[in-house]
Subunit: 488 residues, 2 copies
């Protein structure tokens, strides 16, 4: 199995696709740019979704569901938004099919043309703020802290499984607040929730920062982001949280009466993460043998393999270990297929990224031992049967931490301070990664750098320190470094 | 609040809409026929979904996700399917918008016409069986037991919140099997799972049966159904499970090699329930004071109301009760709003269908007592503080059971054996409900009865007994009674 995976150093792009397909995560579909998320890939997404959902609920949010379709006219209500989003969309123009009069098959019924075209939501600010107008009258209706799990469609021309697909799954939070400060606090809170999720569950270190005006969400006053670094030195925007000011409230006329009976426009945020995170997870940890999963998100945490095949005394021990692990909430499977050799199974389970493998052989059992292998480092140890579940539990925690540490170390080694443009280009081409450099604050410079190097400003880090310097491109004054990278 | 609800006996339809809207379950949207599911309605759906998802996984199913769009040509592959489904659909014809050259707004870019139109899935058999062709080669790939939670769109002309909407949420299971028998067993298993869910969680008794050829799903060889009776005497099809034979395997050329290396077409099932169940839940239990929810699906099981308003000694007791209930996994809220009188709050919580209300007043506390009211019967009792949580836990179980019993009694009283057509029409018009009558087995008779009375054959019950008789309409021979009703 594993040998069919293209080497990471040979062709990173193909390595990624090989892992996605051969580990059974997703596949292309008959519809251009849309993917099929296969059961194993979906199980990972479910684990992500369930944990995020818990975190959203713990911070006071509730779920709701808004229509898939948006009337075309809604998209033009918010001026900046239409420029950013109204272009590459799936447009519904008709509502009926019919049998072709000539018997050649089915055709679109020309009489069933919609009066106004409907857009398949690329994001839902417009339809949601249209709805909020009915829901918000007074300060007592605020804040509204609503999230939705949904599919969205953006007609991307160049797609890549999980990372950029025409249809993808995501959550979009849309909150409404009485004051500017409260909305800003909310946007920051959700950035922190995303960062916590990325680091504690995905074991993927992220930089928290905010976007330049040029990189902001269409319609936002401020876009907060979490940025991760992949193993090929390219950045991945992993989640964004937008402070929308009163832009959508004004576009959809959403006002409220405050306690003094004064009417004001409502303040808004929106924030989202998507199935793109699955792509980020893969590219943060996996290796040439296949997927590597952090235990907290792995659908199966432990696999037990009988060596060389099932036998009564081995099965008994396996059953006992499974009961013990399950009682601790650790998911485990027993691979009893007797048509495959152990070595073949090992490669399969490594490809799938199962964090821990327990091999049970008759000879080892005589010594009251089993072999335990960890997927991240591929180290194996012999453990006495007496404390297997305790050992496995600690090992899973250790793997989780090790994956984070390893990714953090990679990022540290691939974050470079650069002070002139020759070095900037050189670092990008030689080692890639994040570049900390001074920038003069203009969109003009930002775009020129992008044009010349394909690097963009990923963010201005929240913890950027004040440090006088000269822009790496224009030489003009700058007060702090920003984070550049080539990005997905 | 409650007094704004139209009486059930006055106008059942309006009563239903009043409950949906005033209890905050759902609302109409800006898009014709599409609803907004509000947080409280969505929380009920989440509880349903989570429980069903557990039951699906316990019976060996896994989740996956397939594209929202279906190429138009796919729909015409299965002849019966196209007739049943290909008509009222949302059709995507373009993939880009542009600014109108005259500056009048945004328009559909005429250059961005799709080569082949895409249909927003009304159900996913076609795209899924197209995919299964790539996944299934050998008997070792079978069975495939896959479910998907998704939104689907059917361009319904007359819509009603939850019961019939252009877009709705549902799950659709699509399984593939090596043998006819195994597929039939699967279809029956899922009918049982649905029935168990309806009865044990929704407290909604259902009749399990199978559809007449005329009422079958388009493309199915057999459609199994669960049918419930609403409080206005109309039936609701609450879930269906289809044995699809080899129809979709043949249409999409999905074959497998069996253990003898012989090639055969794969056998299929599909099965689904939708947000329509929320409508069924409302219409099974609710009353003129609002929503009535079975405790197992209620987002909030208990509400505590301080009488007349919060005070330190009341808060202390409330906190203690909340801790005790939460430790038993019972969701509870404490209504501390001091701007509303208790009577007003009572009406609000009744409207929302919260199963149990605990009123804590100072005078009662002096006697070490609180007042406990149950939503289903509106009975109140005084309980000593010492065993409140034990009492509440038992009360919740009792409410769950009572709601089921009450609905079962209603159904029993509204199920009538009828042996001539005059009685048939009379029963339908006077008391409604299910009618057990003989039918000659022809589609012709079935359609005539429908034309004359609007009643349809809901199902041939699984447990129908052999009983010779004469068709209630044609007088021809019949071997058992079938179940008629007017239906949603």
């Amino acid at each position: 199995m594993a040998k069919e995976i293209t080497g990471m150093s040979e062709d990173y792009s193909q390595w990624y696709i090989d892992i996605v397909k051969k580990a059974g995560l997703a596949d292309n579909s008959a519809v251009r740019g849309c993917m099929v998320i296969k059961p194993y890939g979906f199980a990972i997404w479910e684990n992500m979704r369930d944990q995020l959902d818990r975190m959203f609920k713990e911070t006071g949010h509730v779920n709701a569901y808004f229509p898939l379709f948006i009337p075309k006219s809604f998209l033009s209500r918010e001026a900046a938004h239409v420029d950013g989003f109204a272009k590459e969309c799936a447009v519904v123009t008709h509502h009926r099919l019919m049998n072709a009069p000539d018997g050649s098959g089915i055709i679109v019924d020309p009489d069933a043309k919609l009066e106004e075209e409907l857009i398949v939501r690329p994001t839902s600010e417009t339809i949601i703020w249209h709805t909020y107008k009915d829901w918000i009258n007074s300060y007592r209706d605020l804040p509204l802290l609503i999230n939705q799990w949904a599919n969205v469609v953006r007609w991307e021309m160049r797609t890549r499984l999980f990372l950029r697909t025409a249809e993808f799954l995501w959550q979009e939070g849309h909150t409404a607040h009485a004051t500017r400060e409260e909305a800003i606090t909310e946007a920051r809170l959700m950035q922190k929730v995303y960062a916590q999720f990325a680091e504690e569950y995905m074991a993927m270190p992220v930089i928290q920062g905010y976007k330049t005006p040029n990189e902001r969400f269409a319609g936002a006053e401020d876009t907060l982001t979490i940025e991760a670094l992949m193993q090929d030195g390219k950045a991945l925007q992993a989640g964004t949280s937008h402070f929308l000011g009163q832009n959508f409230a004004k576009a959809f006329d959403v006002k409220f009466l405050d306690e003094q009976n004064k009417e004001s426009y409502v303040w808004a945020t929106s924030w989202g993460v998507s199935t793109r995170l699955v792509g980020g997870l893969i590219m943060t940890h996996s290796d040439d043998d296949g997927l590597v999963l952090p235990p907290k998100l792995a659908p199966t945490k432990v696999v037990i393999v009988p060596i060389p095949k099932p036998a009564p005394e081995i099965n008994d021990v396996a059953e006992k270990i499974m009961r013990a692990l399950r009682s601790k909430g650790i998911s485990v499977i027993y691979d009893t297929d007797d048509k495959k050799r152990p070595g073949f199974k090992f490669a399969e389970h490594e490809l799938k990224g199962i964090p821990v493998r327990i091999g049970i052989g008759k000879r080892d059992l005589e010594n009251n031992q089993v072999e335990i292998a960890r997927r991240d480092t591929k180290e194996k140890t012999m453990q006495t049967l007496d404390n297997v579940e305790q050992y496995v539990q600690e090992l899973l925690a250790d793997i989780q931490q090790n994956l984070f540490n390893r990714a953090l170390q990679y990022r540290t080694e691939h974050t470079t301070k650069v002070d002139n443009f020759a070095d900037f280009q050189d670092v990008l081409d030689s080692k890639g990664g994040f570049i900390e450099a001074h920038w003069d604050g203009t969109t003009e410079t930002e775009l020129k750098i992008k044009e010349l190097t394909k690097a963009t400003i990923r963010c201005i880090p929240n913890d950027a320190v004040e440090e006088p310097g000269k822009c790496v491109f224009s030489g003009k004054d700058s007060s702090r470094r920003v984070l550049f990278a080539r990005a997905y």
